[in-house]
Symmetry: C2
Amino acid sequence: MILQNVSVDCVIFGFKNNKINVLLWQAEPELLEKFLTTSKEYEQIKIIFEKNPALKSDDYWGLIGTHLPTEEDLDGYAKKILQTATGLDNVYLKQVKTFGALQRVPHYRVITVAYYALINPDYHDLKLSPLAKSVKWFDIDSLPNVIFDVKDIIGKALKKLREEVQYHPVGFHLLPEKFTLTQLQTMYEVILDKKLDTRNFRKKIQNMGLLIDTKEKQTNVAHRAAKLYSFDMDIYRQLVEEGLNFRI
Amino acid sequence: MILQNVSVDCVIFGFKNNKINVLLWQAEPELLEKFLTTSKEYEQIKIIFEKNPALKSDDYWGLIGTHLPTEEDLDGYAKKILQTATGLDNVYLKQVKTFGALQRVPHYRVITVAYYALINPDYHDLKLSPLAKSVKWFDIDSLPNVIFDVKDIIGKALKKLREEVQYHPVGFHLLPEKFTLTQLQTMYEVILDKKLDTRNFRKKIQNMGLLIDTKEKQTNVAHRAAKLYSFDMDIYRQLVEEGLNFRI
DNA sequence: CCAAAAGTGTTAGACCTACACCCATGA
DNA sequence: TCATGGGTGTAGGTCTAACACTTTTGG
């Protein structure tokens, strides 16, 4: 059984080509149709799909999420959605807020609890949901057409990420296990949408004691090879515990 | 019509006797009973009240809130709840998060969208809901027994307030229109739960340009009368706009 | 004149910002 | 040897933290 009026959506952020990306999907109309007509609990919800042609169109994309099952814990279910889409456990996942404006989904009343997740897109293959035609990363600055208030939800999630990143060393989740300081800096620049001073950035980040020098270097780069760092999970957890601040 | 599985609860904070207080209520069992049995849409929800005797007991208190009507906007409805309880419009109101653990309300599945509000308790009389036996302020450090996961909700709201207060000049909402710097400082000390240095506090707060000297003073105090200040709404709004930081 | 809270400045250290050049690598 | 990005230190200004005494008022 599902809660007819509650859905859970995940804004999945990844860092690709030095841009923040979001994972969006499109349904396969026939499969969706079939699913909706054969599933009793989606009977009433069918109207959303009938009345909103964008949902079946190639031009519109949506967030990954579904209605909340009665027997699922809210946070736990967000995790499951993520697991299903990315194959990943142990992802950084945070509730953004709940969207409950009256006409946010035309012709049907749903409130949507939005979460955001941070993952490193290089690490895992995307899994197509059985109902999906495609799943795709989009640069946050050139989003496609999106259904409903998805743009608003992504915007709020991004805002939350920007706040969060200033006080928690959250950004690490977006990078590969071993990364260069330049990558780290670029990530912060992209998230915060401002240039940072390289020398000051390095001083600050290194003073946190969060970085482990892996003693490795980049290879096959046409310039001086950068050192690779990983980050110290224990100190990370300790810092999170203490509710540090981390203004860059 | 109401959404059977969605409720909206307000954690209403006030500042009384140099303590943070929360507004809680108790239902009048007979009236509640009658309401539930005569109201069709609460038919299914009755089970919550039947299976949870604490709801009818004198010893247990709850947050102010109800199920979300189908035709009500989420944020708007939180405002209405507040209006009904306190008679106040234009209250500082912020969504905290949505609680959706499985057994948070025994024998029924509800997710609760929690808001917190800041008001100055001296300014308005509490209005009893028609179903209420009593409504009362409780010092946050000596809460009574509360139903369900209300303690958790209050805790999370308080945490959010503590975060919020460090980056937005939010605390003003808790004070009377004209206040002394000592009152302001005490408020911050209580919210942040730590002592602040008076001289440093005054320097900092006065440098923000947010305070208006009303040229008035306390009267009838057995010590040097303190200046009364009010705060400059225009600058306040401007600062909020700019997303300032306000670490005390 | 006493009790009680209001009000006020300075200094040392920490932190932040701005800024420019040499280094290592592969092509 | 060139192009590309990696890597480094210092000085000036701002912000923060610590700290103690005098003033005003009513009783």
